[in-house]
């Protein structure tokens, strides 16, 4: 099942609505800002469709909520983890890198995963090429790969993608 990308017009309209909501927040609903805002929104939406054409991967509301819950929880763990290491006199870190094969399709999903991992406990996305993601780890003795796979699963669910069987997982 391969859904077709949305038409450029529909994408333009959807992004314009999103930008309008952001503009509404930025200007706190000041009516005098709408004239300028309308022009900027139209230009930015048009530019975004040119630069980032409609994709077959769209965020699902339910999956997005689940992803955000996961993200907030793990942001908290990540911050506390770094603080704990910093406050321990022996500075318990064992930095290193691992490279993994991603199962997510390219484009938005991979990009979201790479950026998410930089804010998750112990991982920092260093290099993404094709489906090979290199992650810098704060502590290589931690179980890094299960964490990355969990984040990958969360991103896939946010986009409504079913992942292939985990061939990249090394036991």
């Amino acid at each position: 099942m391969q859904p077709a990308p949305a038409s450029p017009i529909a994408t333009f309209a959807a992004r314009a609505v999103m930008l309008a909501v952001v503009w509404l927040m930025l200007t706190l609903g000041d009516p005098s800002a709408w004239g300028f805002g309308a022009v900027v929104i139209a230009l930015v939406a048009a530019l975004s469709v040119l630069l980032f054409p409609p994709s077959i991967h769209r965020l699902r509301p339910l999956g997005l909520v689940q992803f955000l819950t996961y993200f907030l929880g793990h942001s908290l763990i990540a911050g506390i983890d770094v603080a704990r290491r910093l406050l321990t006199p022996s500075l318990p870190i064992r930095p290193g890198e691992i490279t993994l094969s991603l199962r997510l399709p390219e484009g938005g999903p991979r990009w979201l995963l790479a950026n998410t991992l930089s804010l998750m406990p112990g991982t920092l996305s260093v290099h993404l090429e094709e489906n090979q993601l290199t992650v810098h780890c704060l502590d290589t003795s931690d179980a890094i790969e299960p964490g990355v796979r969990q984040a990958e699963f969360q991103v896939a669910r946010a986009f409504g993608i079913t992942l292939d069987p985990p061939e990249g997982v090394r036991a």
């Binding site: 509404l24 609903g29 907030l72 911050g79 910093l86 804010l119 112990g122």
Partner: protein, 106 residues
Amino acid sequence: MFDGLVIAVQLVLLVAGCVFFAMGSLGLFRFPDTLTRIHALTKADNLGLGFIVVALLPLAPSFAAGFKTLLIWVVALAASATSAHLVARAVRGNTVGGSRTEDDDG
């Protein structure tokens, strides 16, 4: 009574936010190299800003202003993740022996 509780929670969140910002800065001094320092900065500052934003939400004069405050956090997160990745990629490109070269004239 209820107001007092809200203020107490805000106070705790603000202090927690500042503590995590301090942690990010401490990471700059304690961690040994650029990549580990980025770990500290992105993760601790993300959380610090998050706490401060949540603490300020009850003070927002309107719904839109509250969302504007949240928007600051979202944009800061995106900027922090992106810049962390770019710095990490640049550092690694330099230390691994230049498998990637920047396309400038130098």
